[in-house]
Amino acid sequence: MDPARYAALFVSEGREHLGTCNQLLRELADHPDSTEPVSGLFRAMHTLKGMAAMMGYAAITDLAHRTENLLELVRGKKVTADRALVELLSEAVDALDAGVDEVAAGREAGLSFGEVTGRIDLVAGAAEPAAEAPSAMVTAGPSVAPPRKRGGPRPQAVLVRIAADAPMPGVRALLVLQQARTLGDVEGVQPAEASFQQAGFRGEFRFWLASRRAASTIIKTLSATGEVASVTVGEEAVPEEVASGESAASGSRVQHLIRVDRRRLDALMNHVGELVVARNRLLELAADEPDSELAALGGRINRLVADIQNEVIAARLTPVWQVFDRFPRAVRDLARDLGKQVALSMEGTDIEVDRSMLDEIGDPLLHLLRNAVDHGIETPAARRAAGKAEEGRITLRGRRERNRVVFDVLDDGAGIDRAAILKKAQAAGVVGDDVDTLDDDALLRVLGRAGFSTAERVTSVSGRGVGIDVVLTRIRSLGGSVELHTVAGSGTHFTLRLPLTLVIFRALVARVGGERYVVPMAFVSETVHFSEASHADLDGRPSLVLRGDVLPTIDLREVVAYPENHVPARRPCIVLEVGDRRTALVVDALLGQREIVVEQFEAPHGMPLVFSGATILADGAPALILDAASLC
């Protein structure tokens, strides 16, 4: 496929649609009550959005999406098509037109439509009532099997989990139910089918299925619906009787529970880790004899190991509130000691992460919260002087993003003082004197240096040389990344992205010269060939043009200082994606995907800070894990 061809198609067709929009806007101005121009505008925006999304043009996708939403409100008569609205829509179309021109010039990367977007949101927000809170999940469902129909098969309990990264899990769940109905009578679906499309639906549901088919057939048939993580049939799928009056909102999923010493689960997890390595070796051996019994057995063992792995991971999943629960008190106490008024709100506290991960993220999160109270939120007097509410707000939010878990720590305080940090960094010789401003990334790099503390005065929580560097190191050692966004006067936003589980993850194995390195798949968006055609210079740095986007490239040979001999002519590229940043990593060869087990890793002094850990490959050789976040 030729990315340039798609970019050219995007430009020509995008212009065509925007031209149509201008024409329709004129019609709408003349006939404000006519529905046809609005429908046409809606379709054009929708099509443009879809195309831009496919090309990865985030800014255009976003503006087209918001404009489409606004048009939907006009269509539903919630917003009137008056002169001001037509003007606003014209501005959006003009902005998009300019965006398409930027794409044509290969400059999409820097696009931003903040101003127009903001005004569209204002108009749409005023017309659209705030989204209703998702109704509570039904936990008290029929835990007793429905009566067996005369002569009919006995109903069996079925529990289905949709894959965490599946788009529209509610629709996928509906397809699974449809499939189940081809096998027999379905009853007692919980949560109710009607709630599948609500925001709170987490891709997990149960039902009773009266079918003559064997459990294995049911599992196979339902799994074939696609994007299904697991299907459980029989006793384990039966929910335990839920005590009446138990709050559904607490998210308790009472099942048949037994107590297990955590160390047992940890030991089991470690064994599974070793099993995965052994399985990989077996699969490599089997690959040499494709049609043999060994290959067949290898395939079977492969599936079994994957099942065990999923079960063990699921058994270790723990809701984050177990750790979050101690935060409100810590924040309250610190705020009181400092004479500040702070309200902490926590969202997404029932998302689940691996137990070992949970133990590790508690401290870094608490550190960021304390920092927010200490350095972020101003004193009530200062806030009042700045025209803000005396009470500062801190938000801790947990959420899932594909196969990652993300934590946001936001405060509405003073923001980080870039000038002060720059001065201090220059005094310490960390940043050259020619630098006159620090952007968010540079700021994070400076703050992340060991011992760089910025407190103007010594308090009980800072000024001891323990700062952001500890947070950064800890998160990276877990295979995660940290992002910082701060605005003077309005606040600071830290984003922590982590893999769902700690110990095992899928990774891409790459080679340079005779050495192998691995990259976590969670940060790989795609792989492409690095050729002259797709090669450009951006400010003197080699760059890759990918579907109209210009990505900076890094040569892994240079990163690991590998001698420059035997460089292959054609070299593949791994496109790394961390948040909204992408970088192309050039390697000598790609050796395929593997499940890898992360080993504890202490970086020797002087080693480049681009590795987050080490692993043992199937043939017993060690390999270093590249830290995507520090390369991006």
């Binding site: 379709r43 959005k49 629709v171 397809l175 696609g226």
Partner: protein, 120 residues
């Protein structure tokens, strides 16, 4: 023999991209439609093994097209290509007879997996 496909989308861009993904995987794209009406007509003429269907199209949308096609051929294998935020419409399309769906932006592998499922 390779499977035949009818690609329905009002954007040339999307038809090209979906067509490329499928033909590179060995499918034969036998026709394209840019409106719902065309989709129904071409389905009758070409009897393809598979249809990819956009939801928002001028001149009869994708959902009505699915309904019409399934009326004449209840075994029609239709894959919906939806955009984000159209959950309710995808549900409607599936109730109308579509077999599976993908959500834009999609990776080629996601489309091919869904196609394999639809073709069973």
């Amino acid at each position: 023999m390779s499977h035949t496909v009818l690609v329905c989308d009002d954007a040339i861009f999307m038809r090209t991209m979906i067509g490329d993904i499928l033909s590179q995987a060995g499918f034969e794209v036998v026709g394209e439609a840019e409106t719902g009406v065309q989709a129904v007509e071409k389905y009758g003429q070409l009897k393809p093994d598979l249809v990819t269907m956009d939801i928002v199209m001028p001149d009869m949308g994708g959902i009505d097209a699915v309904r019409e096609i399934c009326k004449s051929d209840p075994d029609a294998k239709i894959l919906m290509c939806s955009a984000m935020g159209q959950q309710a419409l995808v549900v409607e399309a599936i109730q109308a007879g579509a077999k599976d769906f993908v959500v834009k932006p999609f990776q080629p592998s996601r489309v091919l997996e869904a196609v394999q499922r639809v073709l069973g």
